[in-house]
């Protein structure tokens, strides 16, 4: 029974893993970059510069004035004063569902203080936010399609982790085991040690990912209890979330000055602890002003809700209203990691990279394990497809992301739809990597794609030098670590890909290995690259 169970779980792990590993890899790469989304925003907007210190209330007042001019009929305003990592500059957002339905419209602006006017010189770019949004929405899919696909992929990741734990026979005995240069064995060891050492992170990130989509996966629990119409979901909000459900009244009413309400929050939490303020239905009778606390103390966050026409304090939320919601909020807070300071943020990034590597080594191991049986003249089409798709995904996606950054620097600043074209460049590059990987012999494909990746990485800081002032020769002496780290990390990735390309090249050259260990190396490299 036990043997059968393990066998069937291993089978499930192998095949869900194989079919979805490329999408999962995409999700992990873009999601990992998402932990540095605002840092990437800064790099992709080199004209932003540092923000001057302005008082909280002045910033909020300026934000309110700007939004009142540009989007008085929005459903939501968000004003986020310059305050640390998440918002290095004063930034305003708005969104609304257009009359007659359809996709939500949204926009955002960086404001210069003290003028309160948008920073004019910015380039049109999607920034880190676009990469971050890809990890749960994909791109180019209409409506909610990408979200549904990623919800399914998340569930399969969860299945992958669970079955992986069962399939791994010796979690504790092999806890510290990585056997180098043993071909197939080494790939499995690497896959295992990456998975086991990051297991708390993988479990947390996947389970909380499922929580984001809980009403998608289990709609009938909620709908059955609360009825079968669209109102059911708002009843859940009222009861479970302990939040009043606010709808637009349709009667215009003057919005209060938001700044004094923000100072109430500042008095309670401290002036530098206010993350920002959300205004629901500005200039409507039912307007609400929600002041949010900066979540730097842990995954949970506090808010204060005011009536938007009278300024009366309606509700205060400290942490969470009830245990189930506290559980969900904690996990979702852990997923987003907004509370993470510098060290913890780098750890999040590292965990993401290790997860990415775990998926990559799993995909490669699938090939290595099957190679001795099927390689050669009779290697099946399916098997060869997997090998080449591995190249196009594992190396190719990284090439595509680098092309996205290159496009940000090289596309003409006045190009129409420039931000869209950055993304088009990324996916065109990825498409090119697929074509290239399928057209070339396997080992050459690996070497060449890592080679191109290295060139792109080493070139980027140089392109940065010629196109902007935010290059290493300026950022390092100024101690601007956000921008400098971006370039340094890119250079580091370049070094790693040179190393990878070098090893792969050497192995593909030496066709006459003399020793047994060499033979093993050869075995693994033939499929791994």
């Amino acid at each position: 029974m036990n043997g059968m169970f393990r066998q069937s779980m291993t089978w499930l792990h192998t095949w869900t893993g194989l079919i979805f590993c490329w999408l999962l890899y995409f999700m992990f790469v873009t999601g990992t970059l998402g932990y540095f989304d605002t840092e990437i925003d800064q790099w992709m907007n080199p004209e932003l510069g540092a923000s001057e210190a302005v008082s909280l209330t002045a910033s909020v007042a300026a934000g309110q004035q700007r939004l009142a001019e540009t989007s008085p009929d929005a459903d939501n305003w968000f004003i986020n004063p310059a305050n640390g990592r998440d918002f290095p500059q004063l930034r305003v957002f708005w969104n609304k569902v257009p009359e007659g339905g359809g996709d939500r419209e949204f926009g955002n602006e960086f404001l210069a203080m003290p003028s309160g006017m948008p920073i004019e010189t910015l380039r049109d770019t999607g920034g880190g936010q676009v990469l971050y949004r890809m990890h749960y929405l994909l791109h180019y899919f209409p409506g909610q399609m990408g979200y549904y696909i990623m919800a399914v992929v998340t569930m399969l990741m969860f299945i992958g982790i669970m079955t992986g734990i069962v399939a791994h026979k010796k979690i504790f005995a092999d806890f510290f085991t990585f056997r180098w240069a043993r071909g197939q064995r080494s790939w499995l060891d690497m896959h295992n040690i990456l998975a086991v050492s990051t297991l708390p992170f993988q479990l947390m990130i996947t389970y909380s990912g499922l929580l984001f989509t809980v009403f998608l996966w289990m709609p009938f629990v909620a709908l059955g209890t609360y009825g079968f119409d669209t109102k059911a979901l708002s009843s859940i909000q009222t009861e479970l979330l302990d939040q009043e459900v606010v709808e637009r009244a349709g009667t215009p009413a003057l919005l209060v000055d938001v700044a004094p309400l923000v100072s109430v929050g500042a008095e309670k939490w401290g002036a530098d602890k206010v993350r920002g303020v959300q205004v629901m239905f500005p200039n409507d009778q039912n307007a609400r002003v929600i002041v949010q606390r900066k979540a730097d103390f842990g995954p949970l966050s506090d808010t204060m809700t005011f009536d938007g026409t009278t300024g009366e304090l309606l509700a205060e939320m400290d942490g969470y209203p009830n245990a189930p919601l506290g559980f969900a909020a904690t996990l979702i807070g852990l997923h987003e990691g907004l509370f993470a300071g510098t060290l913890l943020r780098w750890l999040y990034f590292l965990m993401g990279l290790l997860g990415t590597a775990m998926i990559a080594t799993g995909a490669i191991y699938w090939c290595v394990k099957r190679k001795p049986k099927t390689y050669g003249a009779e290697a099946g089409l399916g098997y060869r497809m997997v090998e080449h798709l591995n190249v196009a995904t594992i190396a190719g996606l990284l090439v595509a992301v680098m092309v996205y950054f290159w496009a940000n620097r090289l596309l003409a600043l006045d190009l129409d739809g420039r931000a869209d074209w950055e993304v088009h460049c990324m996916f065109l590059a990825w498409l090119a990597c697929f074509v290239h990987a399928l057209a070339r012999p396997l080992q050459r494909a690996w070497v060449e794609q890592f080679g191109v990746l290295a060139l792109l990485c080493f070139g980027l800081p140089i392109a940065n030098f010629f196109t902007t002032d935010a290059h290493l020769l300026n950022t390092l002496p100024q101690g601007d670590w956000v921008l400098a780290s971006f370039d340094l990390v890119v250079l580091f990735v370049g070094l790693v890909s040179v190393w990878a390309a070098g090893i792969l090249h050497k192995r593909s050259e030496s066709s006459q290995p003399s020793e047994a260990i060499e033979q093993n190396l050869q075995d693994s490299s033939a499929t791994a690259g």
């Binding site: 005995a173 806890f175 510290f176 085991t177 990585f178 056997r179 180098w180 240069a181 040690i193 086991v196 050492s197 990051t198 708390p200 992170f201 730097d296 103390f297 842990g298 995954p299 949970l300 904690t330 807070g333 852990l334 990691g337 509370f339 993470a340 300071g341 060290l343 913890l344 750890l347 999040y348 590292l350 965990m351 290790l354």
Partner: protein, 91 residues
């Protein structure tokens, strides 16, 4: 404080690793006695606990335990790769 948390984790991970026969032989060329094995294991779990307490005391429960978990991963990988290095260096 993060450094202290990390050092404690390194001690914990190393002790737990050395309490295993295979890894003990890799380092000391001999199998550990039962007392030593239990001692190392106690030291390992003890430092793990102390490290988690130090982290949550210094940074609060939310940040502290997140930091602890992340650094734990780093410590495990360092230890595992150190073992690989030791083995590769053998003649």
């Amino acid at each position: 404080m993060a450094l202290l948390v990390f050092l404690l984790l390194c001690v914990a991970v190393m002790a737990l690793c050395l309490s295993m026969n295979r890894h003990h032989r890799q380092v000391f060329k001999e199998t550990p006695g039962q007392t030593l094995r239990y001692g190392l294991r106690a030291l390992g779990y003890g430092s793990l606990l102390v490290s988690a307490i130090v982290a949550s005391h210094a940074y609060g429960l939310g940040v502290g335990l997140s930091l602890f978990t992340g650094l734990f991963t780093v410590a495990i990988l360092l230890c595992a790769f150190a073992m690989t290095y030791l083995e590769a260096r053998e003649p």
